[in-house]
Symmetry: C2
Subunit: 257 residues, 2 copies
Amino acid sequence: VSKNPTLEESFPTVQRALTEQKTVLIVGNCRVNYEGRASSMLDWGERIIIIKADGSVLVHRPVGFEPVNWQSSGCILTVEHTGEELKIKAVRLQPHELIKIFLNKIYSLTVIDLKDAGEFDLHVSELEIKKAILTNPRLIEDGFRPISDEKNLEEAGFIDIFGEDVNGNFVVIEIKRIPASKEAAFQLKRYIDSIKRKINRSIRGIIVAPDLKKDVQPLLASLGLEYKCISLRQCFQVLKKEKLKKISDYFNHQEIR
Amino acid sequence: VSKNPTLEESFPTVQRALTEQKTVLIVGNCRVNYEGRASSMLDWGERIIIIKADGSVLVHRPVGFEPVNWQSSGCILTVEHTGEELKIKAVRLQPHELIKIFLNKIYSLTVIDLKDAGEFDLHVSELEIKKAILTNPRLIEDGFRPISDEKNLEEAGFIDIFGEDVNGNFVVIEIKRIPASKEAAFQLKRYIDSIKRKINRSIRGIIVAPDLKKDVQPLLASLGLEYKCISLRQCFQVLKKEKLKKISDYFNHQEIR
DNA sequence: ACGTCGATCTCGAAC
DNA sequence: GTTCGAGGTCGACGT
C-alpha cells in the first residue's frame, strides 16, 4: 500500500504486480477509453480501479452499483508511463475489445496477493425448491406422485416436474423462486397444450411459487391453471430434515455393519 | 488511508464515513451472509469491499469480474463492533434484502470523497441504430418509409420500427446490434404473426444487424423473413451527418433572425 | 409501484 | 468452438 505515489514510482510497481498476477487497487484521477462491442469515452474524474489476478478489470465511479468501464477475466494487461500519464491497457480477443485507462494522479496504490478459499453457497434456487418437492411431494398436495423431472417437450421447453395426482390426472408443475408473473402462466399453458396434443388424459397445471404477481390470479383462472403457494422456509425445512435423515441413515448403516 | 488498522481503530472511522456518505474501501479477511431474493453464505477469505456514497456495496473476490456479494444503491448501512469482529450490515427494502459482512482482519482501510464530474459517452447502442434508420430510411432500402417506432403488440412485445415499403407492404424491422441469433428471428416471426392476426395486408419482416449468427440465414428463409446488413460505421456516418446538419440549421436560423 | 427490454450484459452448460 | 438460457441479473423507461 502506498499513499500518493508519483507516477514514476507507481509505474514499476504496477508493472511488477501485473507480471506476478497480483491484485492491484488504484484510487486516482483518470480518463478511460473503450473500443469493442461498442465504444465509449469517459472524461477525467476520480475513480477506483481494480485489476484482478485473472485479468479482469473494473473502473468504478463514486456512485452506482455497476462499473462504468470494465474488462472481464482473461484479458492481456500492459502498462506504460508516457510522460504525464500512466496508461494501462487491457486487451481481450474474441470478441476484440480494448480498454485504455489514463491516470494523471494516483491517490493510493495497493498491490496485494489475496488468499480466498472460502466456499460460496447460494441457496434456494429453483432447483432446491424442486428437490424439496421431490423429497416431499405433499408440499403440493396429498397423494401427489412425481413421475419425472425435467421432462423435455422439444419445442415447448422443459417441464420442472411432471406427475400424477390421487385421481390419476397428470400434473404439470412450473416452479418459480420469486412471485410468478403472467409469463410463467403462459409458459405453463404452452407446456400443457403441448402435452395435450400428444396424449389424451386430463392434465392439471400448477404454478408453484412463494407468491403471485399482480393480476396473475385471474389469468390463471382463465387459463384453467392452479396455484400452490410454497414458502422458501418450507423448502428449507424439508431439505434440512432430509439432510439430518441422511446423516442418521449413515449412522444406522454403520450400526448394521 | 490506513494500513493494517485494528478493528477498534477501524470502527469509528467506518462509522463516520458512512454517516458522511464517503466512499469506503476495505481490504480484509471476511465472511458474508446474504438473505433476500435468495440466500447465500460466503466463508472466510480475503476480499475487497467497496461501499459507495450512494449506499451501494460490493464484495469482490480475488478472481472473477462479478462481485460475489453486493447490494445496489439506496440501501441503509450500519456498522457494529462485536468483540472479535467488525460487522457491516446493508439493508434494502423492496425487495427486502440484507447483507452482513463480518471482518476479523483489515489489511487496508481507505475513506475517500471522490470527485468525479467526468462525462461518459457510450456510442452505438440499438437505440442509435434505430435513430440512424429513422434519420435515413434508405439504410433499409429505397422507398422505405417508417410509420412508427416502438409499436406495442401487447402480448408479443415491442416492434423496433414499423413502416411501409415502396409497394405499400407493411414492414416490421427488428434491430440487433450484434450478429442476430435464431432467437431474434423467432421474435420477429412472433411480431409478424401477431400483426397478421389483426390486419389483412402483406407484411415483410426484416432483421437489421451487422451480421447473422451461424445457421440463422436458412432459418430466416424458412420463416419467410429477410435480412438487411447494416454496419455500425454506417450508423455513425448518418448520425454524425445529422449532428452537423443540426448545427448548420442552428446557424441558418441565427442568420434569418 | 409493476412490466418489459436492452446490456460492452456475465456465466455456465449443452451441443 | 458456438449457442442457449439463467441471473439475488441491473438499469431505464413507460404505464
